[in-house]
């Protein structure tokens, strides 16, 4: 090797090193700059003000607990007891929680020596350790209380509304009504609502005990009451999950059925006419490019909200994706197998059936099954837009902004559903085309 060669090589090495060094510092630099730009473009400094931490706390605590409302209507003097304050969770007449006592004076023991007393004539007494006895009188729309001027920040008071938040529960007083919320861990009424005879019975009693409801056997009765639970709506939830999976299944399989013949038209090997090939490919690009969002919007106008609309939106978008993938797979098939089949005198259709399909089926099935799983997730999102399936139930529960325990329940179900579909698609893949490892 001559000296000239060496210098040349050295120079080359130097440029390479310089480029490497530039890349090593340049790429992180560009990324940092971009993130800095995003930091201001997305207004992250302002986020702290917009963020509502109270909401976060409500969300976190409500998702694993429930509250029981004790409400006094100050006009009629009626007192109602209801889980989550919902009509469906109201205690039947003559029944009330064990922590409420008294007839003339209703005493509500919130626990931790926090006691609220509903006195006659719309008076309320609140006992909180460390504070003098609070006495509030509601008259018309006004409240008069003995609360001092300077209050801790967990009490807010005006002449119209007093609100006290303690770790044991919350008390809200207005002229029209007095409300106490008592918090408990767990999801109340998950199995049976209060009007069901099976509420409060142990599993052993239901399975092996005496007949609770004389009209029905224990097990069918309990199952039917659980299935028709008005608070948690188990029937609707199961249907909604079924709808979501149905959307994914119909959409994916329908798309595969439509895309397969079209993919032959788009593959160079099977479609000699250039124009036809180009047209099919542009069609694939078009339906893919329009995207599921726009298809959902357009189809919802024609078919109305529901699972069919979601299934069709997935079908149309995925026809494009499958068409592209399938035609690529078809271009890569081995010609020898087709020649072998045609040498036996097979007609074109038979050539495709026995020469081409067996080669591409593993690739196709793998893709279809992968999409089946991924479309279950898409179907949840599309359902939220078009109104079908578990996605809709989730958005509705979030929009009411109070049923966070239901939201938590739905989220767990959705994750379980997606993981189940992931498992099913992996299992089917293993059964149909063998495992990779």
């Amino acid at each position: 090797m001559t000296t000239a060669d060496l210098t040349l090589t050295k120079q080359e090495a130097d440029t390479l090193f310089r480029r490497k060094r530039l890349m090593a510092f340049g790429i992180p630099g560009v990324v940092t700059l971009y993130l800095a730009y995003i930091f201001f473009a997305f207004d992250l400094p302002g986020l702290a003000q917009r963020a509502n931490l109270d909401n976060a706390i409500t969300l976190a605590s409500d998702s694993w607990s429930h509250k029981v409302h004790v409400t006094r209507d100050n006009r009629s003097g009626d007192i109602t007891y209801a889980v989550e304050g919902e009509r469906k969770g109201t205690y039947p007449d003559g029944q009330r929680p064990a922590w409420v006592s008294g007839d003339e004076v209703i005493t509500i023991a919130l626990g931790g020596e926090h006691v609220v007393r509903y006195l006659p004539d719309n008076r309320t007494e609140i006992e909180i350790p460390g504070l003098p006895l609070i006495d509030v009188q509601a008259e018309g729309r006004k409240l008069t209380s003995n609360l001092p001027q300077d209050l801790p920040d967990w009490i807010s008071a005006s002449s119209r509304r007093i609100s006290i938040t303690t770790p044991e529960g919350r008390i809200t007083l207005t002229g029209a009504r007095t409300e106490v919320f008592n918090y408990f861990p767990g999801w109340e009424l998950f199995w049976f609502t209060l009007d069901s005879p099976y509420h409060g019975q142990s599993l052993g009693t239901i399975l092996f005990g005496d007949r609770i409801d004389p009209a029905r056997g224990n097990i069918p009765g309990a199952v039917s009451d659980w299935w028709n639970n008005a608070m948690w709506r188990h029937k609707d939830v199961v249907w909604a999950i079924g709808e979501t999976i149905l959307m994914a299944f119909l959409g994916t399989m329908g798309a595969a059925l439509i895309a397969l013949p079209l993919a032959f038209l788009a593959a160079k090997r099977f479609s000699p006419i250039m124009l036809l090939r180009a047209a099919t490919r542009r069609l694939f690009d078009f339906v893919r490019g329009v995207d599921a969002l726009i298809w959902t919007v357009v189809l919802a106008r024609a078919f109305g909200p529901g699972p069919l609309t979601g299934a069709l939106a997935i079908l149309i978008t995925d026809t494009g994706t499958f068409g592209k993938i399938f035609s690529e797979a078809l271009e890569n098939v081995d010609q020898k197998q087709i020649e072998g089949v045609s040498s036996t005198g097979a007609k074109p259709l038979q050539r495709y059936r026995f020469g081409v399909i067996p080669q591409v089926v593993p690739v196709l099935l793998a893709q279809i099954l992968y999409f089946l799983e991924s479309n279950t997730r898409s179907a949840t999102i599309i359902g939220a837009i078009t109104g079908g399936g578990i996605g809709l139930m989730l958005t509705q529960a979030i929009q009411t902004q109070k049923d966070w325990e239901e939201v938590a329940y739905y989220i767990m179900l959705i994750i379980a559903m997606v993981m189940f579909m992931d498992w099913v698609s992996g299992w089917l893949r293993g059964k149909m085309i063998g495992r990779k490892d």
Binding site: V31, L47, F249, L250, G289, D291, A292, G306
Partner: protein
């Protein structure tokens, strides 16, 4: 060849033939049954979906074109305003693309860490491999909309909830794909680096990343395409960007269809553009690997 072999040959062919025919018949039966089950599932599934839909399939079929036609005719009538409208929505488009880009970036980094910690032979703590795999499984299983809606409630509307939601899902999805690639990485460079006393992160950055980078970038680009779509959809539920504008324009109904048309055009153009760019670049990356 012996006499015995000659004598038994015809019988052998017979058994082979009959057992082959029996096999073929059984396969046909199974194939036919699978097909039958599939057809029944499809047909009954379609009927259930049709029943539970607000409008029926056959009634709605001829109306598919109505809405696009309305939008397009109105947009065409006001075609003079269209360029101005498209310009008006460019900031929203930039926001949508930014959401996708940042979440791909952050999710990619998260996926990288998850994949390296969850791959046999590379993991820093081999005992924790199942833990990191389950974490990435769960992150992958959560649909973006779930996290986005919860975060919108806490953080208020805007791009940040969408960004976080997509980033979490991306980290899980890329974590799985990355770890499949990393499993096939050559461990010799890693061992070499280990012998010089390199720390775990040095071994990963210098020994593994250069091997897997083309595949990783290719997967990240594919995710970016997917994330643009996701970010548009999340905008529709209140997370800012083009999807949000689309919902507003649609809520106005006739009279504002020119705006909806402009947004359709922008969204379509963007998706096609990024699809093309990324697929071209991905092809180059995977081709370069073969050389």
């Amino acid at each position: 060849m012996s006499d015995a072999a000659l004598g038994s040959a015809p019988q052998g062919i017979d058994t082979i033939q009959s057992s082959y025919m029996a096999q073929v018949q059984r396969r046909r039966l199974y194939g036919g049954l699978t097909l039958l089950i599939f057809v029944i599932l499809m047909a009954s599934g379609f009927n259930i979906a049709d029943d539970r839909n607000a409008g029926g399939f056959w009634d709605g079929l001829h109306q598919i074109g109505d809405y696009p036609a309305e939008v397009l005719t109105e947009a065409w009538e006001k075609r003079a305003d269209l360029p101005a409208l498209i310009l008006k929505y460019v900031p929203a488009l930039v926001e949508t693309v930014n959401i996708a880009a940042v979440s791909t970036l952050i999710g990619g980094m998260g996926g990288l860490v998850l994949s390296l910690l969850g791959t046999r032979g590379l993991a820093k703590w081999p005992r924790l491999i199942p833990l990191f795999r389950r974490i990435s499984d769960i992150m992958r299983a959560v649909p973006e909309i779930v996290i986005a809606l919860m975060l919108i409630f806490v953080l208020g509307g805007g791009p940040v909830p969408a960004m976080i939601a997509i980033a979490i899902h991306t980290a899980g999805a890329l974590g799985k794909m990355f770890s499949e690639v990393a499993e096939n990485a050559d461990l010799k460079p890693v061992e070499g680096l280990a012998s010089t006393g390199a720390t775990w992160s040095q071994r990963m950055v210098l020994g593994v990343l250069p091997q897997v980078a083309p595949n990783y970038i290719s997967y990240a680009l594919l995710r970016f395409e997917i994330n643009i779509r996701a970010s548009a959809i999340l905008g529709f539920v209140g997370a800012g960007g083009l999807g949000y504008e689309l919902r507003n324009a649609m809520a106005w109904g006739p009279g504002r269809f020119d705006e909806a048309g402009a947004i359709f055009i922008l969204l379509f153009g963007t998706i096609v553009f990024f699809d093309q760019v990324s697929s071209r670049y991905r092809n180059r990356l995977t081709e370069g690997q073969g050389q």
